[in-house]
Structures are given as C-alpha cells and as structure tokens.
Symmetry: C4
Subunit: 266 residues, 4 copies
Amino acid sequence: MRSLRQRLHDTIFQHDEPAERAFDVVVIVAIMLSVLVVMLDSVAAISARYGRALYAAEWFFTILFTVEYLLRLWTAKRPLAYARSFYGIVDLLSVLPTWLSIVFPPGRFLVVLRALRVLRVFRILKLAEYVEQGAVLSAALRASRYKITVFVTTVITVTIIVGSLMYLIEGPASGFTSIPQSVYWAIVTLTTVGYGDVAPASPLGKALAATLMIMGYGIIAVPTGIVTLELDRASRAQAPRRECPGCGVTRHDADATFCKHCGTEL
Amino acid sequence: MRSLRQRLHDTIFQHDEPAERAFDVVVIVAIMLSVLVVMLDSVAAISARYGRALYAAEWFFTILFTVEYLLRLWTAKRPLAYARSFYGIVDLLSVLPTWLSIVFPPGRFLVVLRALRVLRVFRILKLAEYVEQGAVLSAALRASRYKITVFVTTVITVTIIVGSLMYLIEGPASGFTSIPQSVYWAIVTLTTVGYGDVAPASPLGKALAATLMIMGYGIIAVPTGIVTLELDRASRAQAPRRECPGCGVTRHDADATFCKHCGTEL
Amino acid sequence: MRSLRQRLHDTIFQHDEPAERAFDVVVIVAIMLSVLVVMLDSVAAISARYGRALYAAEWFFTILFTVEYLLRLWTAKRPLAYARSFYGIVDLLSVLPTWLSIVFPPGRFLVVLRALRVLRVFRILKLAEYVEQGAVLSAALRASRYKITVFVTTVITVTIIVGSLMYLIEGPASGFTSIPQSVYWAIVTLTTVGYGDVAPASPLGKALAATLMIMGYGIIAVPTGIVTLELDRASRAQAPRRECPGCGVTRHDADATFCKHCGTEL
Amino acid sequence: MRSLRQRLHDTIFQHDEPAERAFDVVVIVAIMLSVLVVMLDSVAAISARYGRALYAAEWFFTILFTVEYLLRLWTAKRPLAYARSFYGIVDLLSVLPTWLSIVFPPGRFLVVLRALRVLRVFRILKLAEYVEQGAVLSAALRASRYKITVFVTTVITVTIIVGSLMYLIEGPASGFTSIPQSVYWAIVTLTTVGYGDVAPASPLGKALAATLMIMGYGIIAVPTGIVTLELDRASRAQAPRRECPGCGVTRHDADATFCKHCGTEL
C-alpha cells in the first residue's frame, strides 16, 4: 500500500519521468478546458443551446479535480502543509464553488478561480528559463513593496482630495453624484483609463481635471520607474559578482576571464 | 503645570513610548473614520437615512481635532513654527471647514483635506523603511523639477497650438466649441486619458488627432524617463552610506574600495 | 539567357548600383500607392465616385506585383528558400487576395497585407543606421520573450478572474453580459485603454475596478521596465565593438582597458 | 543713428542689463496676454459680451508685435539669417494671421501660433539650469530619431493591417465605416487613448482588439524605453569623464578627489 501511495506521490508532485510529465500535461489541459466550459456557459446564447452538455462537463471536471485534490492530500508528505500552501488553497477553491452551487447556484462561476492553477504550468513544464524569469519578476515586485505602499497611499490621498473638490465644483448634474463617485472618477483619470462615463462639464472642473492629468502623469510615472529599477537590480543580483584580485573592481561581465581594468586573471 | 505640558508634548509629538504610540494610533484611526463619515454623508441615499448620526459624528471629530490642535499649539516648543509648518497648516485646515460650515454649509465637504493628515502615518508609525522610501521618491521628484518645468511648458504650448488647429478644423459641431475646450481635448488626448466626450469627426481632424497621439506618445514618455533616472540617482545616493574613517565622507559607490575624497581605504 | 536571369536577379535582390536602387524606389512607391488605393476604395463616398478608376488601379498594381513575384521566384538562387522566407510569403500574400476576390469579393481588402512589404524599405534603402536600430529593437524584443510570456500569462489569468468577479457583481444590466465580455472589459481597463462601452455601475463594481486600475498600473509597468532594460542591454552589446588584438573578442565595455578574455591591453 | 540701432539691438537681443531684461519680461507678459485674449475670444459667451474689447486688444498686440518684428529685422546683425531662423519665422507667424484675417476672418485664431514664442522664455530669463535641462531633453530626442522612425513605421504598418482586418470583421454597423476610419481606431487603441467613439461589437472583433491591446502594450513600451535610455546617455555625456592614472577606471563621481578603486589622486 505504501508503495502505491509513494508512486502516486511521485506522479502528482514530481515532474521528471515521462509518466509524471504526462500526468501534468493532462491536468493543465483539463484546467484550461474546464475554465473554457465555465466561460462559454456564461454566454446566454451558448448556454441556451449547449447548457446541458456544459453542465455535465463542469461536473465531470469538478469530480476529476476533487479526486485529484483528495489524492494530493493523501499522498503529500505533510498533508497539512500542502493544504495551507498557496497551491493547496487554490486547488481547494477550484472545486468548492461547484459543490456549493448545489446550495447557492450563481456562485458556481467562481470556479474560474481554478484559472490560478494554470500558473503552476511554469513549474510543471520544468521550463527553467520561465521559472527564472518569473523569479526575477516576482523578486522585483517584492523589493518594490515599500515604495509601492508609499505610492499607493499618496495616490489614494490625492484622489480623495481632488475627488472632493470636483464634487464641490461639478455637482450631481455632470455625474459627480457623491464623493466616493468623484474619487472613482479621479482614479479612472489618474490611471489614464478614462472611461468617460463621468466627465467634468464646467470650465473650472475641466481646468482641475487637466491639471490632475498633467501633474498626475508625473505621479503615475513613478511605478514604471520603480519596476524598471527593481527589475534591473533583480537581474543584476542573479549574475555572479566577482572581485578582481588586482585592482578590486567588481563590475565584470559574466563571460570575463581577465579584469578589464588591470588585466589580472580573475 | 509645566510638567503636564511637557508630558502632553511628549505624548503628542514623540512616538517612542507605548503611551505615545497609542495616542498616535488613536489619532490615525480617528482621521480615517472622520474622512469616511464625510464621504458617506455625500452619498444621497446614505445621507437621507443616517444624516443625523453622520452630522453628529462629524462635529464629534471636529471638536476632537480642534482640541488636539489647540493642545499641539500650547505644548509645541515653538508654537509659531508649528503653526506655519506643513502639518500645522494641514491640522488647522482639517477643522476649519466644519466651523465655517455654520456660515457656508456646502463648504464643509472641504474637511476631506484632513485626509492629508494620514500622510503623517509614515512618520508616526516609525516605519523607517517607509520614511526612507518616501524620501527617495520625494528626492527624485525634487531633482526632476527643472526638467519637469521645461516639459510641462512644452506640453502646454503644444496643446494650445494643436487645440486651436482642431478648433479651426472641427468647429462646434463635434464638441470643439472654443479654444479652451479644444485645449482641454488636446490634454485629455496627449495624456492618453481619452474620455471620448469630445472627439474629432472629420477626416482631417482624425488625421491630426492620430498624429498627436503617435508623436505625443514620445513626448509623454519623457516624464517616465525622467522619474526613472532620478529614482535611480536618488536610491544610489542613499544606498550604501559607508563612512570613510579618514575624512567622514559617506556617499561612496557600492563598489568603492578607497575613499574618493582622501584616498583612505574603506 | 542565363545572363538575363543573372542581371534581373541583381536588379531585384541587390541594392547597390543606381539601376538596382531605382528599381527599389519604384517598388516602394508602387506599394504605398497601392495601399492608398485600397484604403480610399473602402471609403463609401470615394468609392461611389471613383470606384472604377480605383478598381482598375488595384488590378494594375496586382498584375505588376504578380509579375514581380514570378520574376523573384525565377531569378532567386534558391527559389524554394525565397518562397518560404518571411518576405517571400508577404510578397505572395500581397497579390493573392485580389486574385481570390474573383471568387470571394470582400476578401480583397486583405491586400493591405502588402503594407508589410514597406518594412523592406529599411533594408532596400541601405540606411545602415536604420537597419542597426531595427536590429537593436528586435534583439531587445526577442531577448524579452520569456519575461513577456510569463507576463502575458499572468495578465490573462488576472483578467479572467477579475472579469468573472465583475460578471457576478455587475451582471448584464451594466454591460457585463457574459464572462468573455467581462474579461474583454478587464483587458480594456488593465491596459488603460478604457473605451467606456462597458463600465461598472454598482459601488462594489466600481471599488473592484478602482483596485484593478491601481494594482494593475504596477502590473502594466512591467513590460515598459522589461523593454527598457533589454534595449539597454541590446544597445550596449552593439555599441563600442572594439576588437581585441590578442584574441579577437569584440564585446568590451566602454570603459575597458584590457581584454576580458585574454588580458591583452586594448 | 547707428548708435540707436546698436542700443535697440542690445535691448532686443541681449538679456544681461536690467533694461534688457525688463524688455524681455514685457514681451513675455504681452505674449501670454495676447494668447489669453485669443482663447477667450473663441468662447461664444465671452465673445458676445466682450467681443469689441477683445478685438481691440488683439489688434493692439498685433501692432505691438509687428513693430517689434520690424525692429528685430532692422537691428539684427544679419537680418536674413534672423528672418530664416526658427524664432524669426515664429515671430512672423505670430502677427501674420491677424493681418490676413482682414481677408479671411476665421484664420485669425491661428495667431495662437505665437504661443511658440513663449518657449523663448527659457533663453530670455537666462535660467542656466532650464536651458541645460532643455538641451538634455532635446539631445535625447534627437539621438533617438532613428529608433523612433523605425518604431513609427512599424506602428503605422501594424495599425493599417489590424485596422483593415477589423474593417472586414466588424463592418460599418459598429462604426468601422472604412479602412482609414479603422486605422484611426487602431491608433486610438494602440496608444491606449481609447475614446470609445468606435469600438468593436462582435466577439471576434473584441478578441482581435484585446490581442492588439496586450501585444500593443509591449510595442508602446518601446518609446518609453528609448527616451529613458537616451536621457540617461545625454545626462551622462554632460558629466565629465576622468580616467584614474593608477588603474584606468573612468566611472568616477563628479566630486571624487581620489580613485575609488586604487586610491590614486585624480
């Protein structure tokens, strides 16, 4: 029995042997198909014609993923650690909505949360390059978290104040029906999304909006600058840092054999 | 008596002892709640049902902050310096609108200016990391002020000229009712906000708009470039802070082995 | 006969002699004119008045380009290699739609694919600078392909999940008629395009949209950061090209005094 | 007489003496006022009430600037060189429209071209910092001209092809009335302006639009990357480059007295 559990564990959690990889590919394809099924089922015209087939397919995938989740729980070396991990929670969330839909039908569209499982594809397919690049990206975003918190707090403060001023200037006639609504408009404008469902109508309101746009463009340039620098730092940190024994210079290319400044062998 | 004033001063202006920090947290929470009260009060449906309670809450917070302001004024070592400081003015502005609303009611929504007090949270909570990052961001923005002035002047000139041309080409029929209105459109377009409340209708107008967008994208890339470089410079200037044992200079590059001023080995 | 084929080959594929360059210029101008003809023909008012002339012009250009394609095929040293190359396929696609329009008339507008032939202008005009810069750009984009794949997968996952949540929150009343439609809205919002044809109406929907915009701005800053860094790397790799007299290695830093591979002084 | 011309030349073209600077300030203020007059005159409500006063003011400024232009022409050391220079042409264009409006009235709004004269303020006010920063910005833009040409050509080709495909997919019903109109939509979308006056309605059209947005975001990141790098290069080029006599390292800070690597005095 232990041997079966061990073998199942390898098939599910390892990604080296052909059989293990085949299992991974089947899971990924099943996830993509099941997300597609849910998306199509939400389209009224398609649901009307193929509703029954899609409903059956959804239950098929849900039972499949439920069995897979139970197997993962059973074969994991530390089941509790798996159940609490990011992917453990995602695996659970990807089957729960369908089961809960027996009680609360509209909630079943939440199964699209299983799309998060697709992110595992990078690890499963053992694409070293992808994993590495993903690590650079996430390291960059993690390193920027303080700057980003300061930035987001500033943006929210600015949008609350500008939104309130616009509420006083424009009023309900041009769509600024309340301060929360005006703050929503300020966020839509500052991020340059600009739906146009709420837009200033008075000359003073337009002047304030134009100021927000021009000044705001500088503000909104900040995250781009932060991410660029952190990406730079993260990719530099991955490259080895070798000190020249001759002159102490450290910025050498990855393929350097001799110091570019004094010619000493590295 | 002097002892009480001294103790109050520490509670209000210091942030080290548990009691001092507790005071800070209470103030921050009170500010957030009071901003929320004002925002909710501006929503017609909520105001109709809970208007009296919100009105009472607003006066409660205003009296609280007024007392706090007077205490700050009384216990500050140099009251005038405090009253003139950025936070001194913000503290005053965060209570004035409610008092003035006795005379001019609609102005009371200006109390959202007290949202600016939330920025103090970074200093109060002694989050060294946050303060440092905020310093990097503001240093970067300050260093860019000349480039940004040149840039803003250029953008305004371009938008005035393109706006006037569009006014001649399109005319009032498609929303370009005056040159200021057309300049507003040009700013909305150049910053890629694009509400769509004013949009060109004639082929020539569309061609000019398309040119403005493509050429403009290069122009609008400038603030991003400026902020990225200044962020880079600001974080470099702050980063390693190794003090030279010979002369005390602190701004050394990360890869420096000798002091750049006196030649002492670091 | 062989001499004629050889001479034609040089005229068509070489760009050095005056006659060869004259041929190139004629081809480019013909391509631009033919694209213009197709674009004008699609405008109802122009088509109604000048339809016959434009139709004739289109066939004139198509026959011209067909003859050119056959000549290229005949004179190419390895005809199959040419037919399979990017420009070989583009040359074929730029004449096929008109011929097929005899059977399927509306498809003839696909001849605008011949606009791709204009990209050849950089190579034809022998503008070394342009070719070099194009190489820097495409090298930068190629080097970023892993990061970009990770990024695009993340963006699609985020838009599917946020889109589904909005579908549950907003529903058909405010335009979120299905999950695919809501995902489309999420992409329009995340890329800051913001048409406004679909926009949230409920407070909860607006709050989620505002969160998507602010958080999304950080996500969307990633491609800019990636492209900036890869452009930097690509232009560094190309820039100084000093060849080492000892070992012939060419990729040296601008500030290198010794070869990083063999230690020879540069 | 020559002395008067010489003195006038200094007053107009020099910016050092108090009298010369006073003249500059008067000119700048007059330009700003005259642009304001034209902008206000285009607002129907204002024009109806103050039309006569604004009309008088416009002629007052035009005659003033005409006299100034003639004086510049008379006192310039090389009148023809001045007349052909950028500012010479701008000075002429800033008075011509009003004179021509005697014949063609609506053209007088073109006098806003005189807004370009405001750009001279940087030189006039002798703000060394501003001029320097402007030089960095324009050097950066000039250095990027090849990359930008390649980029713009690519963008135009992409928008023509995507625009034509959308014309075939969507058709006139959803606003894609012709290929030029569809190309205009593609530019509006690719630059993330997104007016929403034209937007895809069919599922296939929305899928293509979403692809254009996501892929396009990478394309549109290119100008930001280019400008950032060129700004970096331009500002580096301005800083002096000192080589260490001891080890040959060149990347020293502007305030370094000793080499950071070997301690040799610079």
